[in-house]
C-alpha cells in the first residue's frame, strides 16, 4: 500500500520537475484556457449593454453564462493538457518503462493524476478571477464553497481523463478518441460543477443548492477515482 503511494509520488515528482523546467505545458494550457474564455464570451454575449438597463435579468443570465464558460474552458484545456502529457510518454515509450516498475500499475495512474491536478488547479486559480472580472461574478460570496466546487469538479474530470488518456496511448486515432470517450462520461461532473458555480454566482446566492451540488461532485469523485484505480491495472496489461 505504502509502495503504491511512494511510487506515485516518485512519478509525479519527476513530471513536476520536468514541467517546472520548461513550463511549456503550464503556459500553453493556461493560455488556451484564457482563449476559450474569450472565444465563448464573444460568442455568447451580445455587445455592451448600457449599465442601467434591466440589471436583474442581465445578472441572472450573466451568472449562468459565467459558470458555463468557466467550466467549458476547464474541460477543454484539461483535455489538451491530458493529450500533451501522454504524448510525452509516448515518445520513447516511457509509459511502458513505468509499467515495468515492480509496483501495482495503479501507482502510475495516481502519479499521473497528481501531476494533472497540480496543472489544472493552477489553471483554475487563474481562470476563475478572469471570469469573475469579465462577468462581475461575486467570487467573495462564498469563497470556500466556490473553491470546493471547482476543486471537486476538476478532480472528477481529471480522474476519468487520466485513465482514458493512458488507455489510449497505444490506440489508433487517439487524439480524437479522447474527447469522444471522455466528454459523455464527464458531463455529469461538468453539469454539477456548472450548477453549483451558477448557484454561488447568482445575484442571490443559493448556498443550499450549491452545497448539494458539491456533495454530488464529491460522490462522483469517490466513484470515479475508485473505478479508475480498479480498472487501470487490468486495462494496461494487454
Amino acid at each position: 500500500m505504502i509502495g503504491v503511494f511512494r511510487a506515485a509520488w516518485i512519478i509525479a515528482r519527476k513530471d513536476l520537475v520536468v514541467e517546472a523546467r520548461s513550463r511549456e505545458l503550464a503556459y500553453t494550457t493556461l493560455f488556451f484556457a484564457l482563449s476559450c474564455v474569450l472565444v465563448f464570451s464573444f460568442a455568447l454575449v451580445h455587445g455592451a449593454e448600457s449599465p442601467g438597463a434591466d440589471r436583474a435579468t442581465d445578472a441572472a443570465f450573466h451568472s449562468q453564462l459565467a459558470a458555463g464558460i468557466l467550466w467549458v474552458s476547464i474541460a477543454f484545456s484539461g483535455t489538451l493538457a491530458l493529450g500533451r502529457t501522454f504524448e510525452r510518454e509516448r515518445q520513447s515509450e516511457t509509459l511502458r518503462a513505468l509499467l515495468l516498475a515492480p509496483v501495482e500499475h495503479a501507482a502510475v495512474y495516481l502519479g499521473k493524476l497528481v501531476t494533472l491536478l497540480v496543472l489544472m488547479f493552477g489553471v483554475d486559480l487563474v481562470v476563475l478571477p478572469v471570469v469573475g472580472f469579465l462577468f462581475d461574478a461575486p467570487l467573495g460570496a462564498a469563497p470556500g464553497l466556490l473553491l470546493g466546487v471547482i476543486a471537486a469538479g476538476t478532480l472528477g474530470f481529471a480522474a476519468v481523463g487520466t485513465l482514458f488518456a493512458a488507455m489510449l496511448v497505444r490506440a489508433h486515432s487517439r487524439d480524437v478518441l479522447l474527447p469522444i470517450l471522455l466528454y459523455p462520461i464527464a458531463i455529469p461532473v461538468i453539469l454539477a460543477g456548472v450548477r453549483g458555480t451558477a448557484a454561488i454566482f447568482a445575484a442571490e446566492p443559493d448556498l443550499g443548492s450549491a452545497f448539494l451540488w458539491f456533495s454530488m461532485l464529491v460522490f462522483f469523485d469517490l466513484v470515479f477515482v475508485t473505478l479508475a484505480l480498479w480498472t487501470f491495472g487490468p486495462a494496461m496489461g494487454e
Binding site: I10, V18, E93, T94, A97, P102, G237, E238
Partner: protein, 243 residues
Amino acid sequence: MTDAVFDFREVEVRDVSKHYGRRRALAHVELTGRAGEILGLLGPNGAGKSTLLSVLATLMRPSGGEVRYGGRLAQEVGDRLRGRIGVLGHDLYLYGDLTARENLEFFGRLHRVANLKVRVDQALDAARLTDRARERVSGFSRGLRQRLALERSLIHDPRLVLLDEPFTGLDDASTTALADRLRSLRDAGTLIVMATHDFDSADGLVDRAWCLQSGRARLLEAAGPGLGSLRERYRRALVEASA
C-alpha cells in the same frame, strides 16, 4: 503484498501464441533459458521478436500458452517479478527532458535500488557518461542514449535482461564494449535474451539462438567446428523450415 525478494534460475516459454484477430504475431513458441546464458532471437522485422520480448517482460499476455519464471507464472508471483526483469526496448525508454543522472536516479528509485547514489555513479561510469551526467538526454546521440538505456535497464540487478536490437546505431568500439558487458553479465549469472538482426555482432556472443519467422521459432544448431557462422546456421534453419 509481500516484499520478499523473488528470484528464478530458469525461464520457460511453453507453446506461446499471440494473435490479433486474424493476424498472428507468435505461433506455438517453445524456448527455455537458464541463468548464465545469452540467447539470441534472430529474424527479420515483423517476425515476432519484439512481441516475444514483450510477453517475456510480462507487458503482454499471450493468447495461448504460458511463460514460467522459476516454474511459476507471472500472475502467481505478482508485481515483484518485474523487479527481476530489465528491458532495453527499441525506443530506449529515456526521458529526454531529464539529465542522464536524473534518468538513472528516477528508475533506480522506482525499483527501490539500495545505495542509489553509488549505483548511479557506477552505471554512469560503465556507460562512460560520467562527464556528461548533468546534460539532458535529448542532446545525446543515439549511441550515447543506447549506452545510458542499457545501464538504466540494469540498475536494479535483474535476473532476466531483455534487449531489443541493442546494436542499432553503435559504432565498432561501442559494439565491442556492449558485447563485453553482456559477457560479464552472463558470467555473473544473468539470463540475457537478445533480439537482433545483426548477425556479425551476435556471432560468438550468443550461446543458443532461435530463428523467428512469421511468429514461429526454430532452434538453430549449436556453434561448432565446421558448422559455419551464425548467419550460415540461420540460413540453414530457414531452409529447413520451408522444406
